[in-house]
Every structure is written in C-alpha cells, then in structure tokens.
Assembly symmetry: C4
Amino acid sequence: MEYRRLGRTGLQLSALSYGAWVTFGRQVGRSDAREIMALAYDRGVNFFDNAETYNAGDAERLMGDVLADLRFPRDSYCVSSKVFFGGTTHPKPTQRGLSRKHVTEACHQALQRLRVDYLDLYFCHRADPDTPIAETVWAMDALIRQGKVLYWGTSEWTADEIAEAHDVAQTEHLHAPSMEQPQYNLLHRERVEIEYEPLYERYGMGTTIWSPLASGLLTGKYNDGVPNDSRLGHPDFAWLRDRLLNDGGAGLKSVRKLAAIAGDLGMSLTQLALVWCLKNPNVSTVMLGASRKSQLEDNLGAIDHLSKLDDATMYRIDQALQ
Amino acid sequence: MEYRRLGRTGLQLSALSYGAWVTFGRQVGRSDAREIMALAYDRGVNFFDNAETYNAGDAERLMGDVLADLRFPRDSYCVSSKVFFGGTTHPKPTQRGLSRKHVTEACHQALQRLRVDYLDLYFCHRADPDTPIAETVWAMDALIRQGKVLYWGTSEWTADEIAEAHDVAQTEHLHAPSMEQPQYNLLHRERVEIEYEPLYERYGMGTTIWSPLASGLLTGKYNDGVPNDSRLGHPDFAWLRDRLLNDGGAGLKSVRKLAAIAGDLGMSLTQLALVWCLKNPNVSTVMLGASRKSQLEDNLGAIDHLSKLDDATMYRIDQALQ
Amino acid sequence: MEYRRLGRTGLQLSALSYGAWVTFGRQVGRSDAREIMALAYDRGVNFFDNAETYNAGDAERLMGDVLADLRFPRDSYCVSSKVFFGGTTHPKPTQRGLSRKHVTEACHQALQRLRVDYLDLYFCHRADPDTPIAETVWAMDALIRQGKVLYWGTSEWTADEIAEAHDVAQTEHLHAPSMEQPQYNLLHRERVEIEYEPLYERYGMGTTIWSPLASGLLTGKYNDGVPNDSRLGHPDFAWLRDRLLNDGGAGLKSVRKLAAIAGDLGMSLTQLALVWCLKNPNVSTVMLGASRKSQLEDNLGAIDHLSKLDDATMYRIDQALQ
Amino acid sequence: MEYRRLGRTGLQLSALSYGAWVTFGRQVGRSDAREIMALAYDRGVNFFDNAETYNAGDAERLMGDVLADLRFPRDSYCVSSKVFFGGTTHPKPTQRGLSRKHVTEACHQALQRLRVDYLDLYFCHRADPDTPIAETVWAMDALIRQGKVLYWGTSEWTADEIAEAHDVAQTEHLHAPSMEQPQYNLLHRERVEIEYEPLYERYGMGTTIWSPLASGLLTGKYNDGVPNDSRLGHPDFAWLRDRLLNDGGAGLKSVRKLAAIAGDLGMSLTQLALVWCLKNPNVSTVMLGASRKSQLEDNLGAIDHLSKLDDATMYRIDQALQ
C-alpha cells in the first residue's frame, strides 16, 4: 500500500481506503463486513469512513461492532464520521444541520455507535446555510480540544465556504478544517481540479475522495444496461440511475473508450478509474465501497498499476473523455 | 409547528415553546406537568424554559423528573436554566448574582435538578451591577468549552450591556451571548422593537419571549375583574394585579378592542396575542406558561392563525393600542 | 455581617473572614476548630483562608475535616489555599515555588486535603524570582479553565510583579489575578496604601488582609511584656517577638495611645484595629486568626463599631501613630 | 546534588539525571533498575528520562513498574517520554512521527506504560519533515491544557525549527517548547555551543544532555579496543562502533590526553567528561545512562569535582581537543 499525507497535516492515510456509505447495514451484513474490513486492514488500508446518516446510524453501529471484534490497535487506523443529515430516518429540527448542538451531539452519538473514544476525522457532510460557519468552526474546535476529534473537515462545501472557515479559525485562534471529502472521478472533475485549486496551496487541505467509480458507471457494468441486483437496480437509487444513464449516451461512450485503454494497459476499467484519481497529487486517499470481498481484492490491486499511468496514457485518457 | 433559528445561530426552536415560570411546582404538580410536557412535545414544542429561581429550584426539579420519565431523545429538545436570583428562598451573598462562582455553581446545580448533562440555553436572568460583564462572559465561555452549556444569553439586560458582552467576547476570543429573554407583548413593546433593534443585525441575537399574554391580561380574563382562582387572584401576585389593572382603565380598553379584532378573525384574544408576537421576525420563540392541558391546547392552536395577521390587520391592531 | 466585593470581581466576601494560619493544627485541634468555624459561619463569615505551608499541610487537613463535618452548602462559603513554600517540612526542589509543576500539584494536593472539588481562591504565597511570571499566569489560567480554581491571586508581591502578571494575562488572553493578600494593620500601612494604589483602579484588585492585629501587638496583650502562653511566647516565634518589641518602644507607645482612643469609643483596642482596616475601601476582607471561641466572638463584634470611626476619629488615630 | 532551572522555566532539575535509553529492558532488568533508580533518587536525582522507542516501549514499562514499586512522592521527581519513532518495532504509518494523532496517542500510551497521570517533560524525539510544526505545537499545547503534560520540548531539532515552534506559539497563544534534548560532550559541541546560542537568551530554552560520555568513548574504556561485553561490542551497535573509532585515531588521541588531565585533578576521565558539560551554563541537566549501580555511584560522584574545572583547566581541556 502507498501512504499519503492528508493535505499538509502529519496524518498518513492509505492511498486506498474504505467507505461504509451505501453498503454497510444494507447489502453488507456483520460477517461480510468483518471479512471486508479484515482484508482491507491486512492489505494496508488504514482509513475507514462513515457518517451518521449512512443507513440511519446502522453503518456506524456495524462498523463499531466489527472494530471491537477485530481489535486492530487503535493507533494503527483512522475512523471517521460525518454530521449534517441526522442519524435517524426522520430527524427533528435540532437533530440535523451544523448547529453547535447537533455537531456536538452527533459526535457523541458517533463515538457510541463506533465504540471508540475519539474520531480521527469528523466531517461536516454538507454546508448548512442555516448555521453561521463561525458557529460550526467553534464547535469543531471545542471537540478537538476535548480530545473527541483529531482532524475536522468538510464535504462538498464550496471553495468560498471553506475559505471562510479558515478565516474564522485564523482570527479566533481555532483549529481550521484539514480536509474535504468531494466526489471525484473521471466523469466529475471540475470541483476538485478547478474550484478547489486555491485551497491546496493556501490552506494545505487534503481530500478524501468518494465515488471514484461514479456509482459503478466506471466499472463498466452498466455498459449494457442496469442489472437488477446492482445498486442502480435498487428502487432507492432510481434517481441516480436516471442521472447517470440519461445523458444521451455520452457518458457511456466515454466509458467504453476508457475500458479499451484499461485493457491495453492490462488492468480492469475499475482499476484504471481508481489509479487515475491517485494521479492527482491533491488527492489524499480514494475511498472504496466494495460490498464483496472479491471486489475489494480487485480494487486494492489497482495500486500496483499506478505507475502505468504515464504522461502519454494520461493524455490518451483526456482525449477519451472529450 | 413552525421552527425558527435562534437569531443567527444554527439552533432551530419551535415558534411556540413552554416555560415553567410561575406554574411548575406551584399550580402544576407532577402528573399535570407530565401531561403538559407530553402534549407540548407531541405538538412539536422543542424548548422547555426554566430558571434556578422558579419556586426556589422546585420548577427545575419537577421538570427534571418529568424529562427523565418521558424519555424524549436528548437531541430532540432544548432545556434552559437562568442564573442570578439564586436557587433558594434566602440566598446568601455568594449564592446569587453573576460572579464566576455563582454562574458556575448554579449551572452545576441546574444540571443536577434538571437531570441532564448539559443545558442547551443558559441565561443571565438579569444584569448584575456588582459583577463586571467580562467576568460573566469568561465564566459562560468556560462552561461552553467544558460542554456544560451550548448557548448562553441574557434576560432583560439593556442593549448597552449586551453590546459590552459582545465586545469582551470579540476581544478575548470567547463565546458571545446568542439570545435575550425579554418580556414582549401587545402592551409592552419598546425594548424589543426599539432598544434592541441594533442587536439583531449587528450581533445576530435571537429572542425567547416571556409574558406574551401580559400575565394573563391579554387573555381577556380580567376584563370583568380578577377571579380568585387566577394567578392575579393569588396574594403573592398582588403587586402585579396593582400594576396591570390600575392604569385608569386604558389597558383594559385596548384589550377589549383587541378581543373584537380576534373575534372578527375567528380566533381567541389569547391566540391573537401569541401570533402577534410571532409576526416580529426578531422573535425566535414565544414561551407559553399554560397551567392546564386544555389551555395549552388552545395556545398551541394559535400557530394556525398566524397567516391571518396581514398588513391590514396589523394596522388595525396598532390603532386599537393607541 | 457586612459583605464586600473582592475588588471589582463579582465575589462577595464577608468583611471579616477567618484564616487558619498559625493556629490550625497547632494551638487549635479538631473540636476547637469545629466550634470556631461553626461560630464564624453562623455569624456570616463566608471565607476561610488556608495555605499548603500552614503546619505543613495539617491546617488544610484539619479544615477539610471540619468542612466535611459541618456540611455548609458548598456555594455558601469560599475556601482558599496558597502555593509557594511547599506542603511538607523539608520540600524538595520541585515541591516549592511557582513552577507550573508545583502550582499544579499543590492545587491537587490542597483539593485533597481540604476535601473540596475546587478552590474559590488560590494565591501565590510569595513571588518566585526563579520562575517567570508568565509561566505562573499560564498555570493559574489552566486551573481556572479546568474548574479547579475560581479566582487566583498573589500574596506579598510587589506592585510591579502584579502589573506584569496583568500584562501577560491581557496579551495572552488569560485570567488575570483578582486579589492580593498583604499584611496590613495600623503599624504596617505603606504597601497597601501607597505601593498598591495604582492596582485598585487600574486592575480592580481586591485585598484579603492578614495580620490586622500585627501578630497580637494591637491587642495590647504585650503592652506589659510577653506572656508565656501567647504566640510570641512560643520559641518558634522568637524572631517575631524580637522584631515587634525591639524598636525602642515606639510601637508600644503608639499602641497605648490607640488603646485610649478605643476606650473612649467604647470598644476594645483589638476591635479598633480591625475596623480601622475596614475603613480602607480597597480592603475586601480582614482575616481573623482567633484560636479561641471567645476571642472570635469579640473580634466579630468589631463590625458593629465600624460607624464610630468618623473623620475626626481617623485623624486622632493618625496622630497617635506619628 | 546541585539543582538547575530548566532554562528559564521554574522547574528545578538535578544537575545529573538518569536516562533509560539503551539500558532499560536490555542490559538492565527489574531488580537492577530498582536498585539504580533508588540510588539515584537517594542522591538527589529528580529527573528520569525515557522515550516510547526505547526498547519498543519496554524501557517505559520497566521504569513504570519501578516507580510504582518505589513510591517516590509524585511531586518530588520528573519523568519524561519522547514521541517520534513509535513504541513498537515496526510502527505503521500512523504510529510514528509528530502528527496530532501520534503525538496524542503516544502520550496516552506513555502514561499507561509509565503508570503516571502526567508527564513532566514530553519531547519531540526528532523533527518531522512530514508534519507542519504548527500541528505539533497545537497538539502539545492541548496536552498541557488537559493536564497530561507539564513542559514540552524538542530533541535534535535545528535552531530554525525550534524558532518556528516559538513563532507559532506566540501567534496562536499556545505553550512554546521549554527545552531541547541534544547530544553534547567533549567531542560533540557545535550544536549546543553555536547553533543553539540564540535560543537560550531569546526563548529561555533549557537543555537536557544525552550522551555526555560519547557512548562510552569518554570513559576511556575503548582506549585499548572494544570489549565484547560493552555496548559497542553488541552487534546492534556496530554502526556506532564504526563511527566512533574509525576516525583515524584522532578521537582516541584526544581522549588519552583528557584522561591525563583527569588524573592530575584526582578524578576519573568519566567524571571529567560529565562535569565539563555542567560548566556550560546553558546545560540544565546531564543524563547518566549507567547500567550498573557501581558505575552510577562513580558518575554521581562527579558533581563533587565541578569546582576543579577552573579557567586554566578549561583552557587545558580545549587544547587537548584540538
């Protein structure tokens, strides 16, 4: 495994990490989760991502049970949570958002569900237009000073919102956000490559990438339609299916070209999509969401192909995407 | 129920909330309190107001028992206390005021009486001329950093005193007050509408309104004299009776006109008085003090009439008050 | 009892308070201490002063036992400790002074001996030329933020040293010292009246006065020599006896004149000496050190004579001291 | 024993202290460690140095057992740890370096191994090019505010790195480093005497010296070759042996001249080497690493010869080193 600093922090994350998002507590049950996390850790993965909202808290409960069961030394891995959407199906007004009340209570709840004494990373899952950024920065700083959180960050905030958080932190002598968790993949590049550009140098922000496979589109499995047993075949993800596949076929066309490149390089399209993210030096880690052990094995194998993405290949990829 | 941000904070309070003030532990006993709070919560009320001085601590003890009994999720509601007058009948010199000693000890005592780990809101019940505002701001900030209080505020401070608290907080990098708890109703408007005007925009202060019914005067129940079983009929409130009814009848005359407007709009005078407060965008929540379940039902129903107070009606109300 | 603010803080101390200094654990044993403290509290005394060094920790242990026994409500009184000389007979190099290590450890030890969760007042018993003032200010501030101390102060520091502590606190946003514990009495006035003058207005410092009776000289009991059973008759206080009585008789001559004035006013010399201290508006409290209940009764009675010290009498006293 | 302030702090350390480095848990077992520490404490040593990496945590475990066994009063001595290299043989990426995660976790682990509630001194064992200095300063400050560390410092950082730490601390109102732990001895002088020169006056840094005997070279025991049972005879120290003895013999030649000077002064070469370090006023303490009680006795005896190093002798020593 390769390790990278989380932005300019001193924290070293595995280049490939594991996220519980849509799978934990839904497709993935206790024994599968145990196998998956054991395999990931064994191969050097040291960051396990989670959020209060993933399956209404069940993803954290499941991960907490597995962590307690597997007994990895606490200092050998990182675990995260995210706050914003609430940890229940129908959150009440005080049970969501980025108020000091919810940021604080959600942290305590995540610690209980994950069965740890502190979160290594704690994200604001979205920006909250109904809470001043200063209130959230103060609340995050307090959690860090109390030892309940080590690094805090944002997810899908605009560059301006992140800059404001840094301004508040500097003025008030508080801990600033250290990382962003943006969507980033071959089909979704603008925010990470353009909008966030000033944040890396100026604030030393790192990024923990979600959806590196564009919800499976970059595995090529939808090239010939949506199978019933896939995530996009599930009724809950109808909206995602519509968004991904109904663009007049441009997306799928690019995907087929990329598959050809991957084939030429002796790797799967999935692996190409993953290592392509890692070519970006501002990417700290790419989160995998595999729901099966074999799938995870394949994903983790991607790291061995990183060196194949030389300048010529990167150019060829850009051409395929135009 | 409608929810509003507490000023510019991220905390969403129900537009109508419940205060234990004169009733808890006096007119209202354990089983009534249980029924009232259950009803309020059921209808969406998420803020329960209290103070160390309400019935010398008994109002907090009663609310704490009921909260423990009803087991609302802790993150679904807010509870407050207030410090200044002391939590006993005859407080000693160190048992009242806004010194760091009393602010700190009163918080710990309120947490015990209310049986919670932290107060969502903690108010300075009055300004204390014998304590520097800076000392109180430092003490409140310490409680917030220790996780014992989420938001602190003032009650019936002058606008200048509140501004000074904000100045200290800014200079020393401390948590500033987030809210005021002023008296506000159709008969008592100046402080909230004029004196505090600069505070809303400049500091983002919210307000939690007490006495929206002018101690019952705006229910119309004193229009024909003071019944023995009303609050004003109680010997302890003789001073209030004198103040409210002995103004040469001008107050009662206005009240009768308002009752007519309410009738025209198909609501009770009480409901008119409550929603009138909510028309002020700087009002975060209006605290109800109902001592009977049926009364609370009627009060909570007011929210449905809010839209009836259009510009023409508001003008008619102002005319009635002149 | 009269109560006064501790300087500009919000803390109200009884004008007469009680100090354990030379008596506790030496002349005064458990049952006497219990009687004395019960009487003092009953008469309105709300400040009990102590120090790590008083009888090598035994004065604190005794006071802690009595406090636990008498069960005064914790918020109704104040208790102090002081750090510098060490809490053992022969302190090692790290067991004395004002280093962060000793300031912190001495606080924890005082809390254990006094059997309380926090000290209301915590004094630096002397200035420490071998510790930067900044280090001590940081250490005191940390104890206040941790809730282990409410107010910190100094004892017998120079005005310049106190001013430096305030400068550090202002620059670094830390809690500044709130009070000084100086010696002050009819025969020892310069520091409190002249050297400290700028501190009261500029920093709002309060003072807790020790030795208001000049080690007994102002009781008049040494007017005819030193009795064997008095403090000055004890071999440990030979140095004090020498200093007080060997000034060519000038001190004793003044004392005899003061006794005459007291007689004219219908009070004892002791009472005159005590209330004279209280005439100084910068005196927050005068600490009594009575070792017998009857003596304490007499001392506490002084407060009733305060109004007798009018301008003419104060002038007459100044004349007697020249 | 002589005591010195740790730089400008108020902490008084014994001029000679004891370090567990290469010996504890390797040459020195439980009963020897007990004897050595008892003797050192008995002779006035009040600082016991350790690090997470010394024998992969075993040196701290052994010292913790002995401290628990000997029951020295906690306020009568100082104990340290150091963070950087990790507390296991093969640390994972998050288990080493100066990230907030590792600095915090390593502190908690050292407290457990040493069986104490706080570290008196906590060092960054090396500078970490992969962590911003600001992150480490914030993490150290948090540990001090939480009461888990009293003073933090660096070991073998460059003067520029140390200055940057002070700049961050001043700007952000954090605790700055108080001490450096550099190598310093007759054969290795430049860093302490020249590079660090500005740090003493400007920042009040103290120094805790390691390797005062140049890994045994200054005991003279290698003058005639390397014995098998010496540290340099151990395979693990082959690299050190090569470095020390393969300089064309210049080092050994100087050592023989110094031995002659020591003989003239009536002390051993070892003792000369130790007291020579103490002649430098910027040296706070010199750490001994004796693995045998008799050796420690001899080392501690050095302090009695300190006064013999007058100006003429210091000149003679400098000549011998040229």
